[in-house]
Amino acid sequence: MLETLNRASQAQAGNSAVSVKNLHIRFGADDSGFTALSDVSVEIPAGSLVTMLGPSGCGKSTLLRTVADLVHITDGSVSVHGQTPRKAREGRDFAFVFQEATLLPWRNVIDNVRLPLLVGKREAGATYADPEELLALVGLKGREKAMPHELSGGQRQRVAIARALVTRPRILLMDEPFGALDEITRDKLNEELLRLWQETGTTILFVTHSIPEAVFLGQHVLMLAAHPGRVKEFMKVDLPYPRSLAMRDTVEFIQVTAHLRKLLGEC
């Protein structure tokens, strides 16, 4: 009985891309510091697209940054495909997309996409994606030699996504990647991100401020509450893929957003 249970939990662990258990994150000294995350536990299934939603100060970015080994864990554990975040980072298991495109302005588009292949430890035998193919995938074929300042904000973010995919990460961590873009560009990139996700099978963890964006993209929505940051709800979005922008006007979609809006009000 115990053995089967173990095997079941192992299978569970093998199936989740990110496994967070009783995570506490505190910043600063003991008395003057503050708690960013308190007792957070969540399993992100491999290959899923999970959006994270919550009020300001709920620690959704902190959770993402902890997975990315950018934040020191105070207590609890985070495992990324069974490894510590540090090991996962060194093994190039995940890539990160920021709100800013963070392109190097003195390198042209294709050289920016190549940047991950030029720095850090490159594991022997690791196979990387072809930068030119990736640019075609994000719709920037023919702009390889363009400089970042010649691109629009949306195009720069496409380059950032191509750069993230060049190491063939198993997990894509995205921290409000479209937050600084206008709504039309954002809609278009949302649709393309869904297409990318379905084509590559990458696990995506996506932080956003926007309820419609969270519902439109997410297979699951992870809602966090603030002060201190904790899990409010981890819900499955029962809307079929492929999703189109028109789906946002359906009753089912609006019911989900209304539910989330109510939850957000309680946070």
């Binding site: 950018l70 800013e100 720095v119 400089m147 300042h149």
Partner: protein, 278 residues
């Protein structure tokens, strides 16, 4: 598609030969600088008219014609005194900036060093350069060394301040990205921090290019027997005003040439614009 038209036009201009394009550029540059050229010529003309109209004695203020004549009469003297000043200014420029850049790199990687030595840099900066010149002559003698040191010191501080700021200008998100890529410190320095600091560095180098000439000339005022600075002092004492003015014009031209040399290097090296993401 929107790019198709201009690039086609460019292609045609290339096939027509670059001669027309060069003529075009020259004509364009002349036209662009026409107001400035006319204004300068106007000032020189006014100067000559005032000197003639009020019969100003030549030793007090020579007219442009006298100065141009002085160029011809003193070509040899001007030429032999031009070279030492150029050498001092250029060597001072190189040493002052190299030391400033190395120190800035050290400061950025060692906050302790920055806290310890930044105040000393400020103290050195606050000593008037003209007061420092005699001290340096006593210390290192009356050769070329004190001139190079003073030209270097004058370049040093703006470059140090700008370079520290430039090396720190990398955005936190960019540094996070490099950490996620497991980049080493030297990779972050060569791929992110140093290229990002270049616009800041060149802003300082342009200031340094003109002030290094000033430093060299000021240093030559203290008991030197050669250089444009020494020539300025000598011409003043002997009331050879046309020669004095000619020397000043040479010194100013030297500063301008160095400034444009740095600007040219900048336009070749920094061929990008910073992007604002918001």
């Amino acid at each position: 598609m929107a790019n198709a038209l201009p690039s086609q036009a460019e292609g045609r201009a290339l096939t027509d030969g670059s001669r027309f394009r060069m003529l075009d550029t020259i004509a364009g540059a002349l036209l662009r600088h026409l107001p400035a050229t006319l204004a300068i010529l106007g000032c020189i003309l006014l100067w000559q008219l005032v000197v003639w109209g009020f019969s100003v004695p030549t030793f007090m203020a020579p007219g442009p014609v006298d100065v141009i004549k002085a160029f011809g009469e003193n070509a040899g003297v001007l030429w032999t005194n031009f070279w030492p000043t150029l050498m001092e200014a250029v060597l001072g420029f190189i040493f002052g900036n190299v030391i400033a850049v190395l120190l800035a790199v050290w400061f950025v990687y060692s906050p302790l060093a920055e806290r310890a030595f930044y105040p000393i840099a400020v103290i050195i900066k606050s000593i008037p350069i003209i007061a420092l010149a005699p001290i340096l002559v006593l210390l290192v003698g009356n050769g070329i060394a004190p001139k190079i040191i003073i030209a270097g010191l004058i370049c040093f501080f703006p470059t140090l301040v700008n370079m520290v700021q430039g090396l720190k200008s990398a955005s936190p998100a960019m540094l996070d990205l490099m950490r996620i890529l497991s980049a080493s410190n030297s990779e972050i320095f060569w791929k992110v921090r140093l290229p990002g600091s270049l616009p800041f560095l060149f802003a300082a180098l342009k200031i340094a290019a003109t002030s290094s000439v000033m430093g060299a000339i000021v240093a030559e005022w203290i008991g030197s027997s050669y250089g444009l600075g020494a020539l300025i002092i000598e011409a003043t004492y002997n009331f050879r005003s046309p020669l004095l003015y000619a020397t000043v014009v040479i010194a100013a031209s030297l500063a301008v040439v160095l400034f444009f040399a740095v600007s040219y290097a900048e336009s070749k090296i920094v061929r990008w614009k910073p992007t604002t993401d918001h």
